[in-house]
């Protein structure tokens, strides 16, 4: 038991300090803006555009979709910086030379960003409530909370995979932006998945968020946790898939760097 508590303390210490260390644009004002203003901006833009295109009745569709999609901001940009930032800090050699469990390091980097992502989604939904574009009268808050958590986890797992690319490329911000906007298109945040061509639908269902957004819409409309369980299980395993892929890539990069002598080139 003592060992478990010690390990949990060490995990939390590593997660918290790496968050502060590597989320390098984190200043109080920037942080608050990313938590409050950024969700408002995205929601205003897409919901107003949706209302203009399809009418006032579809406001909640756009609001929920975009509030959920905002988690990609923390999940992709934040997590990518938490992994790829090692390259800029010049700490990769010390990280790879340490005996720490690689999966612990890897997963630890996403922990606080998942929390950030949840806060951003809640902020987005709160803005929707304030603006009168959504009602939670029939919503099971626990089911919605679990849905947000799972969707945020799966998005952060995609961020971990992209973060590994950040270890070997200088253009990770380009890739991040591209993925963020692809999620806007493919996740169903702004277009019903069924409205997409068939081949695009395959892409949609292979990405995180798609099932999470669909589940969130059902729950806000009054569905129970059991009713959306298949969507949430799918979302969770999509996240696990990206997490495993990211971890494998992380290990491959580590081993290849040792073999080819490119650690300092990262």
């Amino acid at each position: 038991m003592h060992q478990l508590i010690t390990n949990l303390k060490l995990f939390w210490q590593g997660a918290a300090l790496s968050y502060v260390a590597l989320f390098s644009w984190l200043r109080p004002t920037t942080f608050l803006a990313s938590m409050i203003i950024f969700p408002l901006g995205q929601i205003l833009f897409f919901t107003l555009l949706g209302i203009f295109a399809t009418g006032r009745d579809s406001a909640s569709f756009y609001l929920i979709g975009n509030a959920m999609q905002i988690t990609a901001s923390a999940g992709i940009f934040g997590v990518t910086m938490a992994i790829g930032g090692e390259r800029w800090a010049g700490t990769l050699m010390y990280l790879f030379g340490a005996p720490a469990n690689r999966l612990t390091i890897f997963a630890g980097r996403a922990t606080i960003h998942i929390f950030n992502g949840v806060v951003q989604v809640l902020m987005g939904l709160a803005w929707g409530l304030v603006l009168g574009w959504v009602s939670f009268a029939h919503t099971d808050p626990l089911a919605l909370g679990i849905t947000i958590l799972i969707a945020t986890f799966s998005t952060a797992a995609l961020g971990l995979l992209l973060g590994c690319l950040g270890l070997v490329t200088l253009n990770i911000m380009f890739i991040n932006n591209l993925v963020y906007f692809l999620l806007l298109l493919f996740s169903g945040a702004n277009l019903p998945i069924t409205a997409l061509p068939q081949w695009m639908q395959y892409i949609s269902w292979s990405l995180p968020l798609t099932r999470g957004i669909a589940a969130a819409r059902f729950i806000v409309d009054g569905a129970s946790l059991a009713e959306v369980a298949p969507l949430l299980v799918g979302e969770f395993f999509i996240g696990v898939g990206y997490l495993v892929a990211g971890y494998v890539l992380f290990r491959i990069f580590e081993i290849e760097a040792k073999r080819r002598g490119t650690l300092e080139a990262f």
Partner: protein
């Protein structure tokens, strides 16, 4: 290669003979067996913390876009040496000599192309997980710390990477901060630290896991004299605590002051391995003439090198002038002929002095280069 005769002196008396057999023959039998446990036993018998045998590393890269051509650089060419437990061993060499590549291989960060290396009996390729908690390392320069964190938080974070119990951290981190003289500024962000402070924090980081073997790769590089002196003080304290330390540097006085033995490495090969005192004997037949010259030209350098009694010439560029260091067996007698080669230049000061380790180093490194040139020329 130069070797101290201390290691090949025949044993005297029965006990010493038995000890000799245990130290020299038993290890070699165990070594030949090849298995890890026996290799560890061999190193234990020899009391070696570091054992490097024919270590070699080749970097491969491709040049060109369409017609990609494989380029191979042999950074380390089959070097062998051993470091006894508690010894401070130096590796001296110019930039690109293979010092950092060697350290990277020994710290499990780079795979050797061939050869073996064991640290505390653990193979650096196969026993990585057992080895890493027992060693510590730093690479010179400012990078490798989290600048947005305080010195204290940096140490806490690296402690978590080394799985150090928080209760142990609470005692060890303040102690280490005091050891490296950063106690007063422990809670300030590293981005505000001077280069010397960052380097001292690196040393504290290296000591977090109380390593038995430490690798310090050019720890004082780029530091001002005061900061470099502070680093040497810390290294000296660690040496006195009987830590096994492998120190790479290209500052001769640093190696001379700190190291028990020194390997001089050049172009991936060890050209000499001995105590500082014995290495200096390489130049005991020479004197050194230092000339402070204004307007020193490459032509004058070539003329000096061409003199038959000149062994080696190095030039250090300074703000106001050039310091020309000439090694010659003729010492003061050579001064007038040296000055004659500097026509047109203004000689501000001439000093004749005894050779130092730096002069030995220059002779060893330049001597190797000259030998290679002659070898290539005769082909």
């Amino acid at each position: 290669m130069f070797c101290s005769d201390e290691f090949i002196r025949p044993p005297r008396g029965t006990i010493e003979a038995m000890s000799f057999i245990a130290r020299y023959y038993a290890p070699s039998i165990f070594m030949r067996c090849g298995c890890d446990a026996k290799r560890r036993m061999a190193n234990f018998l020899m009391n070696n913390a570091i054992q490097v045998t024919n270590l070699r590393r080749v970097y491969k890269s491709y040049v060109g876009v369409f017609r990609r051509k494989l380029k191979e650089v042999e950074a380390v060419k089959g070097i062998s040496f051993e470091v006894a437990a508690g010894e401070l061993f130096g590796i001296l060499g110019p930039n690109g000599a293979g010092k950092t590549t060697t350290v990277k291989m020994l710290t499990t960060l780079l795979l050797p192309t061939s050869g073996t290396a064991t640290i505390l009996g653990h193979d650096v390729v196969r026993d990585v997980s057992a080895l890493r908690p027992r060693i510590g390392f730093i690479f010179g320069g400012e990078r490798g710390l989290y600048w947005r964190l305080s010195g204290m938080d940096n140490l806490k974070y690296f402690s978590s990477l080394y799985q150090i119990d928080p209760a142990v951290q609470a005692k060890r981190i303040p102690y280490l901060l005091e050891l490296v003289g950063l106690k007063e500024r422990a809670n300030e962000k590293v981005e505000g630290y001077s280069r010397g402070m960052k380097q001292r924090l690196h040393i504290a980081r290296t000591l977090l896991n109380d390593p038995e073997v430490m690798f310090l790769d050019e720890p004082s590089i780029g530091l001002d004299p005061v900061a470099a002196r502070d680093i040497r003080r810390v290294v000296r304290d660690l040496r006195d605590e009987k830590k096994t330390i492998l120190l790479t540097t290209h500052y001769m006085f640093e190696a001379d002051e700190l190291c028990k033995r020194i390997a001089v490495i050049n172009k991936g090969e060890i050209v000499a391995l001995d105590t500082p005192a014995n290495l200096k004997r390489v130049v005991q037949d020479l004197s050194v003439v230092e000339l402070e010259v204004k307007m020193f030209t490459p032509d004058a350098l070539e003329r000096l090198k061409g003199l038959p009694f000149v062994d080696a010439v190095t030039v250090q560029e300074r703000e106001q002038n050039s310091l020309v260091i000439v090694q010659s067996p003729r010492g003061a007698e050579a001064v007038s002929e040296l000055l004659a080669q500097l026509n047109g230049a203004t000689v501000q000061k001439v000093t004749v002095r005894e050779p130092t380790l730096e002069d030995a180093y220059v002779r060893l490194v330049e001597g190797m280069d000259e030998t290679k040139k002659e070898g290539a020329g005769s082909k």
